[in-house]
Symmetry: C2
Subunit: 330 residues, 2 copies
């Protein structure tokens, strides 16, 4: 049919049309030129979100990131972390996702101890949900999101380096905690870490997910998360778990590559013991790991396939912390 | 002027032309469609050479590499290395660049000790030149080239991993030996390694070159090397040095990014001491390093600018050699 259209001109061609044809050719060239000029850059290509950028962005918003931290039942820890993270290089804003339903936010106290170098926005939630932190917050003005659990401390140096790595891999989740799924002969997937290995896999190890509790990723993915099947939200709410696994599925589907890039942290700590609330993280629940294997299999059903891919790339900073870390001292 | 052309149809428009215009629109859509279909993939985009692929390539040629090794005056070492490298995974062919002018190649002996798993081609040269190894050899059928100095041994494991990294960074030189240039207030560049540091540079170190004496790179760059300014060849021949620096300039100019990706080797060795020829590598010459700084400055003049960019990314294999190498033990 296309071909038929293309032939038409030949049949109705007249003198005027000849002149007109030259115009057509010029127009075609112009269109070709225009389209070429419009070729997406590599990053755009991987990031449709970059093209439908929702907000005007200041320069600083382009080379900086927003810290999103969800908190529940550990306000003392939260305040410690807010202080720790106030002066990270390239930090544009902090968004605190307040899951302490009905509890007053510590904004007054926070402000009374100001001034603070970076603005902190408290987002009061109406329901305590794991996936509250995955909203496309209007206050979010940067392309880069740093998401941190409210019990995890990563050194400023690790964060600055990981951000520079993310800028080179903006379509990936660039973070400090790798995990993997493995296939079993039964066809059921299992979730885990170094203790699991795919049968017959050679030297070394692999990961297929990078957890978002300590990672950089593109804000466009928060937008994409709003357009997932209802069953995904139901699964996350039912388990109060697995939002990070779902994000890795989403990114892997979007890129067709491994979802994450693992940056080896020099100094990462869990501050859980420092809280006085006595509350300890969800991952201590007996069913936590079982749930995560359950989620992997559920998500494979929902998305009708396993999008996660393996990577064995580990990135460290050349010459840091010791100048000769490129010399092998195993 | 373009705009003027676009308006023309409006003026000469008639009934027939109206019908014709719809055809034009369809044609435009077809062109748009075609152009979209022709959008380069990321790798093609970085690698024009992929598009003007000179030779038909077997599947194995696509997921394998060619080892190019230049040798001079250390045939005993060469034979050792040929044996070492015969069974590397994904090795498609070995090309030996024979710089021992007038000397017989050891092909007979090599064949008498066959069969060998991988074909070895001896390329007899007429002049002993450093840049002989940078020819676009007709025997080269793979996209990936592994170039090794004739005194360097890298473990099969490191090579297999680095090849997998190269497949993810095909427009870069992926190798095991990082170097850098630094700027001085005088405007003169200096060449070196960890002992040099840019003034006021923060934590850690950087590199701006990856030497091709132990690296993977795209065969298209050998093609590109044939189209460099004469002055580049003259510089390399005059110094019998710096061909690797020139390649880094070429790649950096081509990509607009850092030329190299540094893979931290687990086991790399210099076998120089194992030769009976008593001959030791060019890099022992007193003037070697001075020449390399000299070359950097010359190349900046020839290319009218400094294309080299810094990187501080160091890639290791996750979980190898020890399963917990992602845990920090500094």
């Amino acid at each position: 049919r296309h071909f038929h259209f293309c032939k038409l001109p030949g049949r109705v061609m007249g003198i005027r049309l000849l002149r007109f044809t030259s115009v057509v050719i010029v127009v075609l060239l112009l269109v070709a030129g225009a389209l070429t000029a419009l070729l997406p850059t590599i990053k755009d290509d991987k990031m449709p979100n970059l093209r439908r950028e929702p907000k005007a962005q200041s320069q600083s918003a382009l080379d900086s990131f927003t810290l999103i931290m969800q908190t529940y039942n550990r306000t003392d820890l939260l305040l410690k972390l807010l202080n720790h993270y106030q002066a990270i290089p390239h930090l544009h804003k902090v968004i605190v996702v307040w899951n302490n339903i009905g509890e007053k936010i510590p904004e007054e106290m926070w402000n009374s101890l100001g001034p603070h170098p970076v603005p902190v926005v408290f987002k009061v939630q109406t329901v305590n949900r794991m996936r509250n932190r995955l909203q496309n917050f209007p206050e979010l003005e940067t392309k880069a999101v740093l998401m941190m659990d409210d019990d995890t401390l990563v050194s400023a140096h690790d964060l600055a380096f990981a951000f520079s790595v993310w800028q080179q891999f903006p379509e990936h989740i660039v973070g400090f905690v790798p995990r993997k799924h493995i296939s079993t002969p039964s066809g059921v997937y299992s979730y885990g870490s170094f203790e699991l290995q795919n049968p017959g896999f050679g030297n070394g190890d692999q990961y297929s997910m990078v957890l978002i509790g300590a990672a950089f990723f593109h804000s466009g993915y928060l937008e994409d998360f709003q357009r997932q099947p209802e069953a995904v939200y139901a699964l996350i709410d039912e388990t109060q778990n697995c939002d990070d696994i779902a994000m890795n599925f989403l990114v892997a589907k979007h890129t067709g590559k491994p979802s994450g890039v693992f940056v080896k942290p020099v100094d990462i700590r869990n501050l859980e013991k420092d809280t006085n609330s006595g509350y300890s993280g969800m991952w201590h629940r007996a069913e936590h790991l079982l749930q995560r294997s359950y989620c992997v299999n559920k998500l494979v059903n929902i998305y009708d396939g396993m999008p996660l891919k393996y990577s064995n790339i580990m990135i460290s900073q050349f010459g840091f912390p010791n100048y000769a870390n490129h010399k092998n001292k195993m």
